[in-house]
């Protein structure tokens, strides 16, 4: 079976499992929306402040709850399943890309709904033409965070407290993504160029993709 067929099969099955479990859209997302509502409640009727902090709160919650979305696959990954894939001849790189693909789709759906909820709750003053920038930032952020989560899941495979350890890896390494995504929207508001921030996210995504694909086999062999 070709690399891409393996990749698509891994992604297809993961999305089917998610459709049945609903971890992302039925559990993580509602909690994230509730967390969005906590900030305005604590600030009272200061509508100007609420409006100003909306995008920042969105990205902060995006990283916090997004980590749970990014790490959901590794939480369900078992040694038996890893062995099965290896004995079927699945390329570890295809496994990595497949999981990033399905995780990225879920992350994007999660962030888009969370952004819409933020706009409705906070009513931020968004610059004209913000949608393409938000969408681009969200796509690049989703890819990068999913790559990080998948990579961290592979590094911590077989360890106790795997999810907690993986979070410790993801959180600091996701900083370039958070900075790039939040600053691109900020730059649009200021009327300055968004290119440096887009390039920062793109470079992070590409670096993680190269590391993830290149390290997939050595990591799989080392973590048995």
């Amino acid at each position: 079976m070709s690399f891409w067929n393996q990749t698509l099969e891994i992604a297809r099955v993961d999305l089917r499992v998610e459709r049945r479990l609903g971890d992302t859209l039925r559990i993580v997302l509602p909690f994230a929306v509730v967390a969005l509502m906590v900030f305005p409640l604590s600030l009272g009727i200061e509508l100007a402040t609420i409006s100003r902090i909306g995008p920042a709160v969105f990205w902060a919650l995006g990283i916090l709850f997004g980590m749970q979305v990014a790490l959901r696959q590794s939480a369900a990954d078992t040694q038996e399943r890893r062995d099965l894939h290896a004995l079927l001849g699945v390329d570890p790189a295809a496994r990595f890309v497949g999981r990033v693909l399905s995780g990225g789709v879920l992350m994007l759906a999660f962030l888009v709904v969370l952004f819409i909820a933020m706009v409705l709750i906070y009513g931020p003053t968004l610059p004209s033409g913000y949608w393409p920038t938000v969408l681009l930032g969200t796509v690049l952020f989703s890819i990068g965070l999913t790559e990080l989560g998948t990579l961290a899941g592979e590094i911590t495979a077989g360890l106790r407290n795997r999810t907690a350890l993986a979070s410790l890896i993801v959180a600091p390494l996701a900083l370039p993504l958070v900075i790039g995504a939040s600053q691109s929207l900020e730059a649009l508001s200021r009327g300055t160029g968004i290119l440096p921030w887009v390039l920062l996210m793109l470079a992070t995504d590409l670096a993680l993709a190269v590391i993830g694909v290149g390290m997939a086999r050595p990591l799989e062999e080392a973590t048995r």
């Binding site: 079976m1 067929n5 393996q6 099969e9 099955v13 089917r16 499992v17 049945r20 479990l21 078992t78 038996e80 399943r81 062995d83 099965l84 894939h85 290896a86 004995l87 079927l88 001849g89 699945v90 086999r217 062999e221 048995r224």
Partner: protein, 214 residues
């Protein structure tokens, strides 16, 4: 005739602790080898070493012609089949979907799934989710998978534990098919009677060392 497995003085260490030591083991095409031994003696480690998923820490040898100390083992893994302690199924998928997943990853035709489900007696229960299925049913899906992928080296790690007679017969049929195809079988079990009946030779594993029992 080329040996399916040839190990010389092979050993495996985990976390710096030796689990298997000085293992000399040959398996010829058409041969069924049995391995027995007390709990913790290294039987599962031996099976995992034979899958090549656990790499040898010392010694030399080959499995299906691939040098165990080289990356050649990646290429022969699809010709190795294992039934371990826990069936490797995805709980949220149905039994049929689990088999389809395996068939797709193995690059086989999906049309072969339904006939083999009938062979293993799961044609009517195939839409049941794996996490709502009995251990025996899950095991039958693993047998169905191996009937489809036809491994040359079949490794059974207490594969018949907890199974009824009809499921045991399926595993026997799988062994017969593997032998008939010119492959070999290594069977780990505590059931001495079964080992005596099914195996050409039986080895005993004790404190990480493998010795001929009969």
């Amino acid at each position: 005739m080329d040996l399916l497995v040839h190990l010389e003085n092979a050993g495996v260490s985990l976390g710096g602790k030796p689990i298997l030591r000085h293992v000399d083991f040959d398996l010829q095409p058409g041969q069924v080898a049995g391995v027995t031994g007390p709990n913790g003696s290294g039987k599962t480690t031996l099976i995992r070493m034979l899958t090549t998923l656990l790499r040898v820490s010392e010694g030399a040898g080959s499995i299906l012609g691939a040098d165990v100390n080289s990356d050649q083992v990646f290429a022969v893994r699809p010709s190795i089949g294992m039934i371990g302690h826990n069936p490797a199924l995805i709980d949220e998928l149905t039994l049929r979907e689990n088999l389809v997943h395996v068939v797709r990853l193995a690059g086989l035709a999906e049309e072969r799934v339904d006939p083999v489900l009938e062979v293993v007696g799961l044609d009517e229960a195939s839409d049941r989710r794996a996490d709502a299925s009995s251990f025996g049913m899950r095991r039958r899906i693993e047998v169905a998978h191996l009937l489809l992928t036809r491994p040359r080296l079949l490794l059974l790690d207490e594969a018949t534990s907890g199974l009824d007679n009809s499921a045991r017969e399926l595993i026997d049929a799988l062994m017969d098919r593997t032998i008939g195809d010119g492959g070999g079988v290594v069977m780990v079990s505590h059931d001495h009677q079964r080992l005596d009946e099914s195996c050409d030779e039986v080895m005993a594993l004790s404190s990480g060392r493998l010795e001929r029992a009969r």
